[in-house]
Symmetry: C2
Subunit: 195 residues, 2 copies
């Protein structure tokens, strides 16, 4: 029913996470109404996404050069490494402006890779960094999920011989939240970790 190239673009948009077929139709119709120049530039940026970008060779953040902006910044505290699941977590932590150390992107958590090689996660790279960079503190900033906790535990065991101090992000009530709606685990750890 749709012209072929229209359908093909709808299919590509539908394949994206949280975009359903109806939404994909609307997006493509919207795009069809835009200027040809905008489409051309959008398409070109998309085509070149991986050409212009790579993973930082030190921390596996997304980067334009061999080292990402954060690793290349000498003003940062190189004795701290914050271990995160994904590059977007770095963005979230940077927005808080409360952390001035480096990062390490694992690229996922343990259970999501159960069919893959465990080696897909950047775990060996992390233990090499801790050794060679004489890291003093590892901050485990995995998502507060079962998989995130399991991964954090794995990292702690992996690094236990290195003598590095391992800390975890505090669990507690989210600011602006409601005690009434906090789940039991969150509320429980907020009580235990009161100060």
């Amino acid at each position: 029913m749709y012209p072929k190239s229209f359908k093909k673009l709808i299919d590509y948009f539908s394949s994206l996470p949280s975009v359903g077929p109806k939404m994909a139709e609307r997006l493509v119709l919207y795009l069809f109404k835009q200027e040809a120049e905008m489409l051309s530039d959008f398409g070109e940026t998309l085509k070149n996404l991986k050409n212009n970008l790579r993973y930082c060779e030190r921390c596996f953040n997304i980067s334009e050069g061999n080292l990402c902006e954060i690793c290349a910044d000498n003003s940062r505290d190189a004795k701290k490494i914050c271990v995160v699941e994904e590059p977007l977590d770095i963005i979230a932590i940077e927005r808080t402006k409360k952390y001035n150390g480096l990062y390490h992107v694992l690229g996922g958590v343990l259970s999501t890779t159960k069919n893959d090689d465990l080696g897909q996660l950047k775990l060996n790279e992390l233990s090499k960094r801790v050794e060679s960079e004489k890291t003093e503190e590892i901050i485990l900033a995995m998502n507060p999920t079962t998989e995130g906790d399991a991964t954090a535990l794995y990292v702690v065991r992996l690094l236990k011989d290195s003598g590095v101090r391992a800390t975890k992000l505090a669990r507690g009530l989210s600011t602006g939240g409601d005690i009434e709606y906090a789940d039991e685990l969150t509320l429980g750890s907020a009580i235990l970790n009161r100060k």
Copy 2:
């Protein structure tokens, strides 16, 4: 914080309807993890969206040739024209398989174009078609909204001297809703019960 080309793509995705900045970040990160070939093809399809497609010169549906598939199909009843706001409405009506006539895409409704020239809507083109194609019935299938109703009224007045019979989709559609999202049964009986 983001590399420039990453940020640029996020901005493009954020500019799409119903895609917020957080969702745009996730989409771009997802895309970054895909194969370069997929990205290249996706980008190429996007770039060429307008090159491969145009508006049908008869009904203004989206088309690969001068005439869209429906206008080019001789088995369809050329004495009926169903007037819709947008090409996606055609898809929705075609899915019901209850209509075998032609279409005419206005490209919007009256109030959405109040800052533009009224001539942006394909109204003159419609009255010329009704005259030259000796149309017997016009089915007004605008969205059941105030603007849709106003546009339908305008079309009826525009064509009142032509002697064409004007029918409207039965109300069974929920007022304030969108034709595109109507389920097939409701939309199908709305077509059969037109008056």
